[in-house]
C-alpha cells in the first residue's frame, strides 16, 4: 500500500495551484457567487491555453492522457479553491462522448472549440415531472423532414443562459419500454422556440427551466442511434466517477477554525478553547480525510472494477451527508453571529459559514440524490435486492 498520490500528481497539483494563483481572482470568485453562474469564459480559455483542459482524454482525441491518480492532484486543488468548473465539466463530458461516438461533422464542429474552452454545453435530462428517474423523460422528439421537432421542458438546465447547446434526452418512441424509446440530441439553444427561464436556488446558484416549443433539430445533431439514447448516457457517464465534495468541507472548517481563533466568549476566552468547537473541528478534518480516501480509491481502482460504480457512490454519499451536518452544526456552534449573511458587511469569514448552510443542502440532491446513491450501494456493493 502507498497513500502518496505520486510525483506526477503532486507536480500537476503544483502547476494547477500556480495557475489558480495567477488567474482565479477574488473578483472572479465574487462574481460567480453574486450572479450564481459558476462559469467564467476567460477562466475556461486560460485553462485551455495552459493545457489544463481535457487532461483525462486520450492524446488521440486531443487530450492530456493522464490517468485517474495523476488527475487527483488537479481535481482536489480545483475543488479546494472553488474554481468555476461546473460548466466546464458538463461541456467536457458531452464533448468527450461526441469525440468518441459522434459523426465526423459533429466532432469537427464541437471538439476543437471545446478543447479551446470556447463553448458551453448544458445538460438536459431532468424534467419538471422526473428527476432521479431520468429514463422517464417525457420531452418528445418527432420526425420532421430531415430532422426532428422537439416539444417539452427540462428542469435545472444549469448554465442554459450562457450555453451554446443543451445535451438532451428526448422520447422518440413512446410505444416501447421507457429505456428503449429515448434518443440524445445536441440542441443549439440560440433558435426560435427555445425559452430559458431563470430559477434561483437557496445557495444563490442560478439554474433554469428550459421550454422547447416545436424546436427544429437537424438529424445531424442526433448523437448515437435513434432510440439508443440510454446507451449514449451510459457511455457519457461510464468514465465519470461520482465525485466527493471535499472543497466545500475544507473551506468550511478553515473558516470555522479562523473564526474560533479570533472570536471571544463572554469571559474573553478564545472560542477555540471550547471543547465542543474543538470536537467539531477534529471531526470535520477526519471526515475530510475519509472523503478524500473514498474518492481517491474510487478513482485509482479503475473503471474495469466491477464495484467502481458503488465506490463512487460511497464517496459522494459520505462527503455530502457529512457536509450537511458540518454546516448545520458549525452554524449552531458559532451562535447568533453565524446568521450574518454572505454579502452583508458584518458577515463572518467572508460569509463562508452562512453560505455553507445554504449550499450544503443541494449537494445531497443534485448529481444523484443520497437515496439513489444508497440504492446503488445496496445493490452493487451489498448484494441486496433492488430496494423499494
Amino acid at each position: 500500500m502507498d497513500f502518496r498520490l505520486g510525483q506526477k500528481s503532486d507536480a500537476l497539483r503544483a502547476r494547477t495551484a500556480a495557475f489558480l494563483d495567477e488567474v482565479l481572482t477574488e473578483e472572479m470568485l465574487e462574481r460567480c457567487y453574486r450572479t450564481g453562474t459558476n462559469h467564467d469564459s476567460d477562466f475556461a480559455k486560460a485553462l485551455a491555453a495552459e493545457g489544463l483542459l481535457a487532461l483525462d482524454w486520450s492524446p488521440e482525441l486531443g487530450g492530456g492522457g493522464r490517468d485517474g491518480a495523476e488527475l487527483l492532484g488537479y481535481r482536489e486543488e480545483m475543488q479546494r479553491r472553488n474554481a468555476p468548473v461546473y460548466a466546464i465539466g458538463t461541456t467536457m463530458t458531452v464533448s468527450h462522448v461526441i469525440a468518441l461516438m459522434g459523426t465526423t461533422e459533429q466532432r469537427d464542429e464541437i471538439v476543437p472549440k471545446a478543447l479551446r474552452g470556447e463553448i458551453v454545453i448544458a445538460l438536459g435530462f431532468t424534467e419538471p415531472e422526473n428527476g432521479s428517474d431520468a429514463a422517464a423523460a417525457a420531452t418528445r422528439a418527432e420526425r420532421s423532414g430531415d430532422g426532428w421537432r422537439i416539444n417539452g421542458s427540462k428542469m435545472f438546465t444549469t448554465n442554459a443562459q450562457i450555453a451554446d447547446y443543451v445535451f438532451m434526452l428526448a422520447r422518440t418512441n413512446p410505444e416501447v419500454s421507457k429505456h428503449r424509446g429515448l434518443t440524445t440530441f445536441l440542441v443549439p439553444l440560440d433558435q426560435p422556440g427555445v425559452e430559458v427561464q431563470e430559477v434561483r436556488t437557496m445557495s444563490g446558484e442560478r439554474t433554469n427551466i428550459t421550454f422547447y416549443n416545436d424546436v427544429f433539430v437537424s438529424d445531424a445533431w442526433r448523437i448515437g442511434d435513434v432510440d439508443g439514447g440510454w446507451n449514449v448516457m451510459g457511455a457519457a457517464f461510464m468514465h465519470e466517477h461520482t465525485a466527493a465534495f471535499v472543497g466545500e468541507q475544507i473551506r468550511l472548517v478553515d473558516a470555522f477554525t479562523a473564526w474560533a481563533r479570533e472570536a471571544r466568549s463572554e469571559d474573553e476566552r478564545p472560542r477555540a478553547e471550547d471543547p465542543a468547537i474543538r470536537e467539531r473541528i477534529g471531526r470535520s478534518h477526519t471526515e475530510i480525510e475519509v472523503s478524500l480516501l473514498l474518492q481517491r480509491r474510487a478513482v485509482t481502482r479503475g473503471v474495469d472494477d466491477l464495484d467502481a460504480h458503488g465506490r463512487g457512490s460511497m464517496a459522494k454519499l459520505f462527503s455530502t451527508e457529512r457536509l450537511e451536518l458540518q454546516a448545520d452544526q458549525t452554524l449552531e456552534l458559532v451562535g447568533p453571529d453565524g446568521l450574518r449573511a454572505w454579502g452583508d458587511p458584518t458577515t463572518l469569514q467572508d460569509g463562508e459559514i452562512e453560505h455553507a448552510v445554504r449550499n450544503a443542502k443541494g449537494t445531497t440532491i443534485y448529481a444523484g440524490t443520497s437515496e439513489i446513491q444508497r440504492n446503488i450501494i445496496a445493490q452493487h456493493v451489498l448484494g441486496l435486492p433492488r430496494p423499494y
Binding site: M1, D2, F3, R4, L5, G6, S9, A69, L72, T257, R261, A272, P275, R278, E279, R280, I281, G282, R283, H285, T286, E289, V290, S291, L293, L294, R296, R297, T300, R301, R311, S313, M314, L317, F318, E321, E371, Q373, R374, N375, I377, A378, V381, L382, G383, L384, P385, R386, P387, Y388
Partner: protein
C-alpha cells in the same frame, strides 16, 4: 496511490483468517465470557509468532510494520476474538525501544513466559484503571509521572466485569515499582505506544464493523416480512448502505494511519486519533443497525450480533471516547497550523 495489500500481506491475512476461523468461532467467544480470555486461542496466537512479528529484528522479533499488524488486528476484530493481542503487541514494541534495560523482559514476553500489557491511560494517584488485559497479564507497563514503570499484577490487579467482556483490571501502582525509563524520552515512547494502540484498536474495530455489516446483510437477505425480503425495503437497505460507506472509509483511514507510522511520521499522531474516533463510531453505528434489523432475535444472547454490539462500544472506550479522539485531532491540527503560520 495503492490501496491494495501486497502479496505477502495477503498471505499474512489468509493465515490469520484461518487461525481465527478455527480458534475463535462465536462459541469460543461466548465460552470465554465474562472474562473475555481464551487461553487456547492465546496459545495458538503465540505459536504463530503473533508477538514476535510485532517486535523489531534487533530485539529478537521479525519486524513487521504497523500496517501488517493492523491487517492482523482487523481479522482479530472480525471474530471479536477473546485474546489480548493488541495490548501485548503494543507493550512488546514499547519494551523493545527501551534497549538493554528491558532486554530480558522482551525475551520473556516473546517466549510466552510473561504476558505484559500496557496501561493506555497514565496512572493517577496510585491507580491505573480499566487496564486492557490487566486481568490476565503478569505485568503492566504504566506511565507514572514521567517514568515508565513495570507493575507486577500479582495481588495488585482486580478484574472488573464490563460491558464488552474484556479482561480489564484496576491496578495499584506504587512508588516502589521498577522504573524502566524516565524523562521526556520515556513520555514520548509512551505517547507513541498509545498512538500505536489507537491504530491497532481502530483496526480491530474496523474488522468488527465489517463483520457486523456482513452478519446484518446476511440476515436481511434471508428474513422475509410482508411477503418481501427484508433487505428490499429502503428503510432497511439505506442505513446499511450508509454503514457500508463508513466501513470502507474507516478501513482506508486505518490503513493510512498505520502506513504513516513509517512513511509519514509527522502526520501519524493526528491520523491515529482520527482512526480511533472514526472506527469507534463506525463500529457503534454498524453494530446498532445490524442488531436492530434482526428484530427481537438480535436482542437475544443466542445470536452472535450482540457480541459485536457490546464490544463495539468497549474496545476504544478503555482509552477515550470518539469525542475525545476528535478533540485530540483538533489539538494536533491547530498546533501544527500555528507552528506553520509562525514559521511562514
Amino acid at each position: 496511490m495503492d490501496v491494495n495489500p501486497s502479496a505477502e500481506q495477503r498471505q499474512l491475512l489468509a493465515a490469520f483468517a484461518a487461525l481465527y476461523a478455527a480458534g475463535a468461532p462465536p462459541e469460543v467467544v461466548r465460552e470465554a465470557e465474562p472474562l473475555g480470555h481464551s487461553p487456547q486461542l492465546w496459545q495458538s496466537l503465540l505459536d504463530t509468532d503473533a508477538l514476535g512479528m510485532a517486535v523489531p529484528e534487533h530485539a529478537g522479533g521479525h519486524g513487521a510494520t504497523l500496517l501488517d499488524l493492523a491487517l492482523v488486528a482487523e481479522q482479530h476484530g472480525r471474530h471479536v476474538a477473546p485474546a489480548p493481542l493488541v495490548e501485548a503487541q503494543v507493550a512488546a514494541r514499547l519494551l523493545a525501544t527501551l534497549g538493554e534495560s528491558a532486554a530480558d523482559l522482551v525475551s520473556d514476553v516473546l517466549t510466552g513466559r510473561r504476558l505484559v500489557t500496557l496501561a493506555v491511560r497514565p496512572a493517577r494517584a496510585g491507580h491505573a484503571e480499566l487496564v486492557p488485559a490487566g486481568a490476565v497479564a503478569d505485568a503492566v507497563v504504566a506511565l507514572r509521572g514521567e517514568a515508565l514503570v513495570l507493575v507486577p499484577t500479582a495481588g495488585r490487579a482486580s478484574a472488573v466485569t464490563t460491558l464488552g467482556s474484556q479482561p480489564l483490571a484496576d491496578v495499584t501502582i506504587t512508588d516502589d515499582d521498577e522504573v524502566l525509563a524516565a524523562g521526556p524520552a520515556a513520555v514520548a515512547a509512551f505517547s507513541h505506544a498509545v498512538d500505536e494502540w489507537r491504530v491497532l484498536t481502530a483496526a480491530a474495530l474496523t474488522g468488527l464493523a465489517a463483520r457486523a455489516l456482513e452478519i446484518g446483510v446476511a440476515y436481511v437477505l434471508e428474513r422475509k416480512a410482508f411477503d418481501r425480503t427484508l433487505g428490499s425495503f429502503q428503510g432497511v437497505a439505506h442505513p446499511l448502505a450508509d454503514r457500508a460507506s463508513e466501513v470502507d472509509g474507516c478501513e482506508l483511514l486505518v490503513h493510512e494511519a498505520a502506513w504513516a507510522d513509517d512513511e509519514d511520521p509527522a502526520r501519524f499522531p493526528e491520523l491515529a486519533a482520527m482512526a480511533l474516533g472514526f472506527a469507534a463510531e463506525t463500529a457503534r453505528d454498524t453494530s446498532y443497525y445490524a442488531l436492530h434489523f434482526h428484530g427481537g432475535y438480535g436482542f437475544m444472547l443466542e445470536y452472535p450480533i450482540q457480541l459485536y454490539f457490546r464490544r463495539a462500544r468497549s474496545w476504544g472506550a478503555v482509552l477515550e471516547s470518539p469525542q475525545a479522539s476528535f478533540r485530540r485531532v483538533a489539538d494536533l491540527r491547530m498546533a501544527s497550523e500555528s507552528r506553520m503560520s509562525e514559521a511562514g
